[in-house]
């Protein structure tokens, strides 16, 4: 059977499928039918320096083939994560990636410093691209200069892999990718959600309390595949493809566009056990096509 191991240097994953941040909690409180050890890795909800309640409801709404969210980084905060969640998730038999967010550079740094003192974290995903937080004023995800400053600071704090998660809401995602790599990013993940809105025609008002939210789900997949394709040509670091993955064919699309691994988000809400269920089909597709490993098809669409 084809080898599903994927090289996400400096990380190696036993398979290319992980849950996307914000769709799997902290990995400790999943329904019994989900076995987190079957995933290539676990990515936590974004953690901030202090706990956050998030935005006022309504903060989710369904859209055509997707959804909008304006959760606003509701999370338990890094300290509670270290105390209550980390001791449980670090022993779950898969790679643990902690996603970090903040409204100021100092907040990102503090979260990372606290995590650096603990064991069990295999890498960090840096959320520079959350469209749902309106404090601080510095939008790291849309300014090359600010993103470089942030990633450089974080690079000084850790020797573990840094994954920078890119926003699609920019003019040139290649430029952002290049800036992130220049500042010391090991791996890029893309995309985060696209800015969207819905109006309630009966109330004649926006549905979300924040007006705008982040669009995710199958509706965004072609946008994300295009951006992975572009970034693959622009930089030399491994890429994690994210956006609208619903089946094995979608995973293969991302791999062929240049991703070395993928994260599944919104579709976990239909079935949180979806990810590992796609692996046998991916393996048999590779077998049928005569490929011996995943690595043979990464970026193949560029040839």
């Amino acid at each position: 059977m084809a080898d599903l191991t994927t090289n996400l240097a400096p990380l190696t994953l036993k398979n290319p499928i992980m849950p996307a941040s914000g769709t799997f909690g902290y990995g400790d409180d999943l329904p019994d039918f989900v076995d987190i050890s079957e995933f290539g890795g676990m990515v936590t909800k974004s953690l901030t320096g202090t706990p956050r309640e998030g935005n006022a409801p309504p903060r989710i709404v369904e859209t055509s083939s997707g959804m909008l969210n304006s959760i606003g980084l509701a999370n338990i905060g890094v300290e509670k994560f270290i105390e209550e969640k980390l001791p449980v998730v670090r022993n779950k038999g898969t790679i643990l990636i902690v996603n970090i967010a903040g409204s100021k550079m100092s907040e990102y740094c503090r979260v990372m410093e606290l995590l650096e003192a603990e064991s069990g974290v295999d890498g960090y995903e840096i959320n520079v691209s959350c469209p749902n937080v309106k404090e601080g004023g510095m939008e790291f995800g849309v300014s090359e200069k600010h993103m470089k400053m942030l990633i450089r600071e974080l690079r000084d704090i850790t020797d573990k892999p840094i994954i920078t998660k890119l926003s699609p809401n920019v003019t040139s995602i290649q430029a952002m990718a290049e800036a992130a790599v220049e500042a010391g990013t090991d791996i890029l993940s893309l995309i985060n959600t696209l800015v969207g809105a819905r109006i309630d025609i009966e109330k004649q008002r926006p549905v979300l309390s924040t007006i705008f939210g982040g669009l995710s789900g199958p509706a965004i997949k072609p946008v994300a595949v295009a951006q992975v394709f572009k970034v693959y040509e622009a930089v030399d670091v491994p890429i994690i493809g994210i956006g609208g993955i619903a089946n094995a064919g979608d995973v293969l699309e991302y791999l062929m566009a240049g991703a070395s691994a993928v994260e599944i988000g919104t579709m976990n809400y239909r079935d949180p056990g979806l990810g590992p269920k796609l692996l046998p089909e991916i393996a048999s597709w590779l077998d049928e096509q005569g490929f011996e490993s995943i690595s043979e098809i990464i970026g193949i669409a560029h040839e």
């Binding site: 409801p57 789900g217 809400y269 239909r270």
Partner: protein
């Protein structure tokens, strides 16, 4: 916490019991030992496409191997469900959420439902009846066609309609107030309600004035139903936790804890 299952539950029956209101029976033996009154299931109404999210429904009844839900066909997902037939299967996740307080000592249970809102209270009624309590039920609806629960020898059943076509002519809240005013002083109640939020708010005021504890079954649109998306938040009166998740901290809440009942 109870165990959560994902299963393709065979459809036993799916009958229309009132105007666009259906009773769906599913074979799900794994649920019987886990379910507590007030919990819900999340149904994937279309495994091949839209809608994207599962649809949540209260468990209205449960036996050794059958769970029953009562739903109204109002939109895309529920209209798909209306097409289910025996022989089909429904992909469900559950049982989900917390449950009603059932340890109520000598108190008399008051179950108050508006329209479809009686669904989660049926299982509670069954619980009390099986423990030889005689619950008092109030069910209000627009008209007789919307009533699907019209007979119960083991409970005191009070029906009302807005147009007077069945039972008390008026709002369920008016009938409830009349009833409470007629009770002897010192009768102790425990109230439970589910229905439109303005109705639940009015009931919360009635209960607060009479110092009757009240639990509500709350509905919010849900992306996941299992606490993963943080989307189904509701504002509560807790300074240290302003928002609760309806799918996980609920769907059952003490009425006095929620801000909308103020």
């Amino acid at each position: 916490m109870s165990k959560i299952f994902l299963t393709d539950a065979p459809v036993v029956s799916n009958e229309e019991v009132a105007n666009r209101i259906y009773r769906l029976k599913l074979r799900a033996p794994e649920f019987a030992s886990e379910n507590r009154p007030g919990q819900f299931i999340n149904i994937l109404t279309n495994p091949d496409g839209a809608p994207l999210w599962r649809r949540p429904f209260s468990i209205a009844r449960i036996s050794i191997d059958i769970i029953e839900i009562i739903y109204k066909a109002i939109g895309i997902g529920t209209n798909q469900m209306a097409g289910l037939q025996s022989g089909d299967a429904a992909n469900i996740i559950g049982p989900l959420g917390n449950s009603f307080t059932v340890d109520i000592g000598e108190r008399t249970p008051l179950l108050i439902g508006g329209g479809l809102g009686f669904a989660p209270l049926v299982v509670l009624r069954d619980y009390f009846v099986s423990r030889t309590k005689r619950p008092v039920l109030f069910i209000g609806a627009l008209n007789a066609d919307e009533h699907y629960y019209t007979d119960d020898p083991d409970a005191d059943l009070n029906l009302s309609t807005d147009d007077g076509s069945l039972g008390f002519h008026g709002l369920v809240t008016e009938q409830l107030e009349q009833y409470l005013d007629e009770q002897e002083a010192g009768t102790e109640f425990m109230a439970y309600s589910c229905g439109p939020e303005p109705m639940m708010k009015a009931i919360a005021h009635i209960c607060r004035d009479r110092e009757i504890p009240l639990e509500l079954s709350i509905e919010r649109e849900m992306a996941c139903g299992i606490g993963l998306c943080q989307g189904c938040s509701i504002e509560q009166h807790l300074p240290q936790k302003k928002f609760a998740l309806v799918c996980k901290d609920g769907p059952i809440f003490n009425a006095m804890h929620l801000t909308f009942t103020d």
